[in-house]
Symmetry: C2
Subunit: 454 residues, 2 copies
Amino acid sequence: MNLDNFFKAKSIAIIGVSRNPAKIGHVIFRNLLDGGFKGKVFPVNPELKSMFGIKAYKSVSDIKEKVELAVISIPAEHVLKVVRECNEKNIKDVLIITAGFKEVGNRVSENELKDYLELHGMRCMGVNCLGIVDFHHHVDLIFLPRSRLKRPEAGNISFVTQSGALGSAILDLCAVNGYKFSKFISYGNATIIDESDILEYLVKDKTTKVICLYLEGVKNGEKFFSTLKKIAKKKPVIVMKGGISEEGNTATISHTGALAGKSEVYFGIFKQTNVVVADSLEQMLYYASTFSNIGKINGNKVQIITNGGGYGVITADAVSAAGNLKLAAMNEKIKTKLKNDIDNELVSFANPLDLIGDADTERYKKAIEACINDNNIDAILLIILYQTPLITTDIIDVVGEFNRLKRKPILVVSTGGNFTRVLKDALNDEDVCTYEFPEHAVKALSAIVRYKRK
Amino acid sequence: MNLDNFFKAKSIAIIGVSRNPAKIGHVIFRNLLDGGFKGKVFPVNPELKSMFGIKAYKSVSDIKEKVELAVISIPAEHVLKVVRECNEKNIKDVLIITAGFKEVGNRVSENELKDYLELHGMRCMGVNCLGIVDFHHHVDLIFLPRSRLKRPEAGNISFVTQSGALGSAILDLCAVNGYKFSKFISYGNATIIDESDILEYLVKDKTTKVICLYLEGVKNGEKFFSTLKKIAKKKPVIVMKGGISEEGNTATISHTGALAGKSEVYFGIFKQTNVVVADSLEQMLYYASTFSNIGKINGNKVQIITNGGGYGVITADAVSAAGNLKLAAMNEKIKTKLKNDIDNELVSFANPLDLIGDADTERYKKAIEACINDNNIDAILLIILYQTPLITTDIIDVVGEFNRLKRKPILVVSTGGNFTRVLKDALNDEDVCTYEFPEHAVKALSAIVRYKRK
């Protein structure tokens, strides 16, 4: 299914614009403008002449120009009528925000709507959804204000979510953590366009490198299975499944109107199709940032570099627990040279390579360089605890330089307060993968090693 | 063992003070002053006449007044000599920061030192440690600058760590997350005072409610076992064990000079003695803040309240996965009254109780109040996603009020960016337990229910 108009439309009608800033139609219209949309926008509301200085229309029928996408945010009982008008105006793509359909038991209205949309070959995102953002094309069509929900920068992660509120909370967190996004897609009840259609579109989308999916249930299991079989080896699909318990499953009914279904079936499908399963939202996030920045890895041999002994110990524990990773054994020649270069008898030249508490940027540089050049090492787990005074901020440049070489993955772990966060953010800006806890870095690396790319 | 002088000393000598701000002795001296220490401070360095306007001494022998605690930060080869001087001056408590003993294979020196200390009944914290902080008595004796490592406010968590760097990173993170501390104790090689002595002291310490322990290995397993048996039911002891894998265990040798030992033995001891085991640093932290704020819980029946359906679903999943928690069934009368009060047909009056995306503070207030008064409910998992515009900031006051009643635990989950963080911090200031992800809140609650208090 060609979903281009949802992300790249050059002319968008917002049906249900309001002067009241608490209304969804108002917020969406404003977000589209504030987001820097370059195309034409047509606010629609029978009672308005203009909105923010832009001419308003009584209905889409009154718009003379071509409209590629209509966003509908009006009470449920009027949606079908407006969809008809869209069709008559030859608008085949509609994003329907409106709730009050099958998720509250109103199956009749939703089926009626669905039948009409299908009969006329219309594509519909929603109903009962938060909306869509394309960060590259400045199409911001979600109904939460930018003051409450910070938008991430443009990048390569696309996030597909059945739950709007969950999606919005995660998007907000990602923005502040420096994650960079291609698309955010809340698809709600999936009246026409479902998760499979979206996945199929995203796998061909050039700005998407990683797909995250929060999923409760799918309507068409076979379609989902065959879609995943086709795509999940081409691009990593990271899935967080909601409703895996009986209690959670029951809760999905009042949420998107569909039982989540047997979770064993889902996990069976995920395993067969190479899906990256995240066991929590937090894990979905650090998986996403890792796949977003790291392209490939040659093997599973990991070298830990640290300035804190205890962090080395627990990281080694985590590597062991991962199951598919091994601690690398440094090439003896390289190790001997490094020993001479660093020349400090308290430093432990093992794995973990413990540069100890008085390590400065120069000592780190020597250690990383040795590991980059050592073919016995496939990835570097770099622990930098910024609490010690001898580490200067130019370590950011040093790590950034090595990371740009793309010789092997470098994952950086730093735990701490504001000073640490500022330096972590600076590394994120250099597209270096950073983590707050060693266990996260190790699990992410383990997922990268496990993932089989076609 | 009476460790009062390490935390409450009214007169402290800092041996090895230096004018060079990069030197440990300099930083410790400065931290003690900047930390607001109210007692007397005696800088000791043969080459200085004064430091920051405070008279310096050539050696402790030259100090005429009483000294209760000596902090030693000089090269390893001179430590024994200085310890002798301390003994002659009748200083029985020494904090030895100096590294370069058994952790680098220098067992002879450490044993010699140990023999002397034991022979003369001296108590020694360290060697090879980061130092100590008592946040209530303004005793700040760690050698990392306050500019790099923010100090938490005074509170009831005491953190005992074998690894200094690990401890410092965690302390820094805790400060920025609003955790409140009683004591920070880095005990390094445990030459005299070991983890058991410290635990025994902390269980009697009035300002300590929760004890966190990062542990690699213990020298005296029987002592450790019997100590835990005595104390772990009186106050929660949350342990994160490093070196549980062969790889991690090996790494501990070059760290604190001792093999961590068989982890099965440790976990056996923990299980028998009621220790709260944390499987990661992150988990240790959210366990700590939960035990710090929540005193008791009457049962295991949990009510979820949410404004995001998906968050309700995954929280229900987490409750089910916890094993020892149950979703509460609301009292029918209270539920009926709440339905009338809220009067919104899209709200789902179940568990999760889904207040939906347009919930305002008033709707939350009604829901929380109903749950507080419902005896079928033992704890409230309150999800507040601040991205939606109708939630006003006075929700902080509402939740704070209910929390102060101490009728039942309220755990608040909020995910998001800066706006969310500000409101989370405000709740923390009200001593409300907050979490970034639902899984953390649920696991913490599960640990509270599992913990048996004597």
